[in-house]
């Protein structure tokens, strides 16, 4: 039963209509969570005793950084599925993920830089986590550049998928870099949820932002995916019935 559903996912028309139906289910919670998280983070949460109000950028920085890793992992998994089982829509998913992931990475780097200036006295530091996160941005850009270098779509799909899979090694490196090296960056504090040091008023908006960003990713992915499917299937017959002008 589950297998037939998985098989149907591979069919572009089904995926197209499924994505259309699912989008509002993700879009509205995204809006609510992000608005709630922003309000909670900017207004309700008390100022940090060390950093004052400057710490509030964490509500954008931490989720962005987390998403940059999560999106790359999603992209790599989809790429692997496309490579191994030759599922064409998997390549469409990976292609849709890349610009989103690159944006999150850039956001994480910029917000991190803005946060770092008052905290560490400098806009940039070549410490492991920052450096590898910058490398991640280059990996996203490399993926998109390789994709656009090929005229043949199939080759573009498969070559860039290979690149994504090989590059996934950077994701655990970034994640564990703060533990492996003595880094300027603070050790993970949010992940240890049960033993977290943050008070609830600080933590809950942060969790809302994490969830909101995740749902935001899914929403944008679904929208982009529909666009990808349309482009790839533009000469197929089901397009005419599915797309009403």
């Amino acid at each position: 039963m589950a297998w037939t559903w998985f098989h149907r996912l591979g069919s572009p028309p089904y995926l197209y209509s499924l994505a259309a139906r699912l989008t509002p289910w993700f879009a509205w919670p995204t809006l609510v969570l992000i608005l709630g998280g922003v309000y909670g983070g900017l207004v309700l949460a008390p100022p940090d005793y060390q950093q004052g109000d400057g710490f509030r950028i964490i509500y954008v920085h931490a989720p962005s950084a987390w998403m940059s890793l999560m999106v790359y992992t999603t992209m790599a998994v989809a790429a692997a599925a496309g490579l191994i089982w030759r599922i064409k829509v998997a390549h469409a998913v990976a292609a849709s993920c890349a610009p989103i992931g690159a944006s999150f990475t850039l956001c994480a780097l910029v917000t991190g830089s803005l946060w770092g200036a008052p905290m560490w006295g400098t806009y940039w530091e070549w410490d492991p986590r920052l450096t590898f996160e910058l490398i991640l941005l280059f990996q996203y850009l490399g993926y998109m550049a390789l994709r656009s270098a090929f005229e043949d779509l199939q080759r573009a799909d498969r070559a860039s998928a290979m690149l994504a899979v090989v590059g996934v090694v950077n994701v655990p490196i970034i994640h564990y870099s703060v533990i492996w090296w003595n880094s300027l960056h603070q050790a993970p504090s949010v992940m240890k949820l049960a033993k977290s040091d943050m008070p609830a008023t600080m933590l809950i908006p942060l969790l809302m932002m994490f969830l909101g960003f995740t749902l935001f990713f899914v929403t944008v992915l679904l929208i982009r995916l529909r666009g990808e499917v349309l482009t790839r299937e533009r000469s197929a017959s089901w397009i005419r019935e599915a797309v009403t002008l």
């Binding site: 030759r86 043949d152 779509l153 199939q154 533009r234 000469s235």
Partner: protein, 210 residues
């Protein structure tokens, strides 16, 4: 002993972007048979040959060799075929002898005199030590054909084997193929005109553009 079907293709579908290059192709080739693929440019002859040898993956359908799907043991299948594409795969800075030594020698051990004999057979003996860059297109084609004289694989997949060859060269191709067919081998060749092969062993398969 009745000739048996050795190479089979079932319901091959291949897309290249929006183009439906192979549309439900099915064919069967028996031992001792030469299948000529004909069709206009862009009809999919090269794509079909590449699908048959396993370089291209069809979206649907499969290729069978000696009754088994080639995907099950692709390398084993490759060990039993010889493929010569559009351009003779020769390095310009090496001589024909060196080229054959590195090209075919990687597959089977070759003694120096065996290579010389093969080059003589195709009429390339006189320029066997000159760099390939100095040879004409027809001469390069002959050197590529010499590779066929060095293999003993059953399946030959040839893409336009007579390009750039004069009348004598075309007869040579026919002779090589005839000998191969008599030994029980099979040939699939993409070609515009008829090969000078024994008529009883020749079949045609036409590909049309959609």
């Amino acid at each position: 002993m009745a000739a048996a079907t050795l190479l089979q293709a079932e319901n091959l579908h291949l897309w290249r972007g929006d183009r439906h290059v192979l549309n439900g192709i099915a064919l069967a080739v028996e031992g001792g048979e030469c299948l000529q693929l004909t069709g206009s440019n862009g009809a999919g002859k090269t794509s079909l040959l590449r699908t048959l040898c396993g370089l291209m993956y069809p979206e649907e359908g499969r290729v069978l060799w000696v009754g088994r799907n080639i995907r099950e043991d692709l390398r084993g299948f490759h060990a039993e075929l010889a493929y010569i594409g559009h351009e003779p795969p020769l390095k310009a800075d090496l001589s024909p002898r060196e080229n054959l030594r590195y090209w075919i020698g990687v597959r089977w051990p070759l003694a120096s005199d065996v290579i010389n004999d093969a080059l003589e057979r195709v009429g390339a003996g006189s320029y066997r030590d000159r760099p390939v860059r100095t040879l004409s297109a027809g001469q390069k084609r002959r050197v590529a054909l010499a590779s066929l004289a060095l293999t003993s694989v059953p399946l030959w997949l040839l893409d336009e084997p007579t390009t750039n060859l004069d009348k004598e060269g075309q007869q040579l191709v026919g002779a090589l193929i005839n000998e191969h067919l008599e030994r029980g081998g099979l040939v699939v060749a993409a070609i515009h005109h008829d090969l000078s092969v024994r008529a009883t062993a020749l079949r045609r398969f036409e590909l049309t553009r959609e």
